[in-house]
Amino acid sequence: GCSSVANQDVLKVDQKNKQITWGVKADTRLFGLENIRTGKLEGFEIDLAKAMTKEILGPNGKAVFVPVTSSTRVPLLKNGNIDTIMATMTITPEREKQVDFTKSYFDAGQSLLVKKGSPIKNIQDLNQPGKVILGVSGSNSVKNVAKYAPKARVLQLSDYAQAMTDLKSKQGDALTTDNGILYGMASENPSYEVVGGNFTKEPYGIAVNKNQAPFRNKLNWALERLEKNGTYNRLLLKWFGNVKGFNYQEMKR
Amino acid sequence: MIEFHDVQKYYGKFHALKDINLTIDAGETVVLIGPSGSGKSSLIRTINGLDPIRDGQLIVNGFDLADKKTNVNLIRKDVGMVFQHFNLYNNKNVLENIMLAPRIVLKRPEKENREFAMQLLEKVGLADKADNMPAQLSGGQKQRIAIARSLAMKPKCLLFDEPTSALDPEMIDDVLNVMKDIAENSNMTMLVVTHEMGFARDVADRVIFMADGRIIEDDSTEKFFGDQPTTQRAREFMSKISGH
């Protein structure tokens, strides 16, 4: 269990097998989403993971993707089903107690999605009894809400589709999560908009198990190389260049 | 009291009762015998409408059972039945078994109902079992309660379908004695399916023999047991069962 996974040097094993197993999202637009036509996963994180794999293992290196949810990603990492997580996972001090993060690969911030014309303009508008905020269970954003709008009630749903449906059927007043994900939903549902700016910083990190310093260092190294050689910016442009309201220029590295 | 005119009965395609013609007068005691599967139960069950007939006329206590408009509940009030396996109400104690139908069907006043029920228990020799549940009784006791339950409705006619054949041999006499008592000391019309030839000889006015869904003998008791049955089938049957 913990011992066997912790004792193995994941980097060495992966280099030997010429593959890295990534835990990724399959239901999150722009980051990791299953293409119904092809059955393949697509998104910024998927492309970045592929590029990093090649960077670390060479051109023959293979990226294996295991779909995870916010709830399953950490147990799977700890159990060794996956080597590392790149699944819109915010770096937080609490999580750092359980796993190690690389430096941030995407600087998201938490925001709000509301119906166009809604009286709610920012997080303070939600801080009153009777307001319902929708989120997805296991995500960091619902925990932040307790800090910024303690009087509101939070419903944690099992996926973004449920959350979006509940927002549409007025079960909640706003949907909160990271801006990148919200922009993805807004682009699909034009009568909804992202409001209130980013009221938190949500740096996404790649997570590995504790005691895997060599692997983490290697991931950091690969990320830096991709940032330097322009691959990172190219992927950012590919996925976020056309998203309305999203200022991708700011995110360039 | 009971009249069958050319009655036919089917189970699906199986022809269970064929051309039955039979008249039983009020007060008569008739014993019905015949091999297994010959239709004795089928015949007796048509009389109180537990099984429907296909064709012919069946008049019981003035009601025509072939007529769909006849309310069978009216017939059943006056025609009691005692089954091989007693069919007591498992969820009611002995007294309630006896008192239930008079209370809900005849609306007999509670006090009178209870007194009459106790009288009947006395008669079948089980007054001390009034509060027992059926599961606590032996087969012979159950059957005597079943008879008391039928009598409680003050029927004009009683049907018995092998009332002693599920009983241990030592219990049989107690039940037969109760039946004899009814036959001899009341004006009840009785139709009894049984293999107890001693009972038939002592109590019956007539013996009817069935085979393959037909009545093939209908004799007075003296004739049946005296001169031997007329048909070969009946003679064979009698020689087989004698002694058991």
Binding site: G1, T72, P75, A161, T165, E188 | -
Partner: protein, 217 residues
């Protein structure tokens, strides 16, 4: 209406059917495994072997009385602690097998108990040993008696596969969620499709059982 027409595009239908394929694959595998294991456990429990039967019985009772969701978590997240690191499909099969075997074991035990002990006595008096009597006389009759209960358990199993969406098993329910996740207008069409597809599979199973019941008699 337009939503329905769009939702039932060939691409989406194909994706749903792929999910249905996994649902069926997992169901069949789990039915076979849990039938075999459950029967063995049921016999062990029936046989009243000293200590063994009691311990097996207690474990069965624990599993039977927990929600399947927890069993799924325990299997998927817990098994690696004892060195087994199954992929998602084998993991789902294992989780379902663990849970359903314990249900099958109970069915088998009460199925065996439902056979009149006279059948065993007849066999013993005829010279057979206890195990021969169980194997040749009692079990074959018991299985026929158990068939209705077994089939409804297996129907439950098929329905229960949907819970494995929680660990991202790519079965029918999950695929429907992926589709309506990408266009929330498809929610109603997708739930209609789910209801119809699950109904077809489960109801055919019960028809099959009814057929077997008649023709094995």
């Amino acid at each position: 209406m337009q939503n329905f027409i769009d939702a039932y595009s060939w691409v989406n239908i194909r994706f749903l059917l792929q999910g249905l394929g996994i649902t069926i694959e997992i169901s069949v595998a789990s039915i076979i495994c849990s039938f075999i294991i459950g029967t063995l456990l049921g016999i062990i429990r029936y046989a009243k072997i000293k200590y063994v039967s009691a311990i097996v019985g207690f474990i069965i009772d624990l599993i039977r009385n927990l929600p399947l969701l927890l069993i799924i978590f325990f299997t998927y997240f817990g098994l690696p602690n004892i060195g087994v690191k199954p992929e998602i499909i084998p993991a789902a099969i294992m989780a379902l097998t663990v849970f359903e075997s314990s249900m099958v074991a109970e069915i088998v035990r009460s199925g065996i108990n439902s056979i009149d002990y006279a059948q065993t006595e007849g066999a013993l008096a005829n010279g057979l040993t206890k195990w021969q009597a169980l194997r040749l006389i009692v079990l074959p009759q018991a299985i026929k008696n158990m068939l209705p209960a077994l089939v409804s358990q297996f129907i439950s199993l098929v329905k229960d596969t949907s819970l494995a969406t929680i660990i991202v098993l790519p079965e029918l329910m999950y695929h429907a969620q992926i589709i309506y996740g990408q266009n929330t207008n498809y929610i109603i069409p997708m739930f209609v499709a789910l209801a119809v597809l699950y109904f077809i599979v489960c109801y055919s199973l019960s028809l099959l059982a009814r057929y077997l019941d008649k023709h094995l008699a």
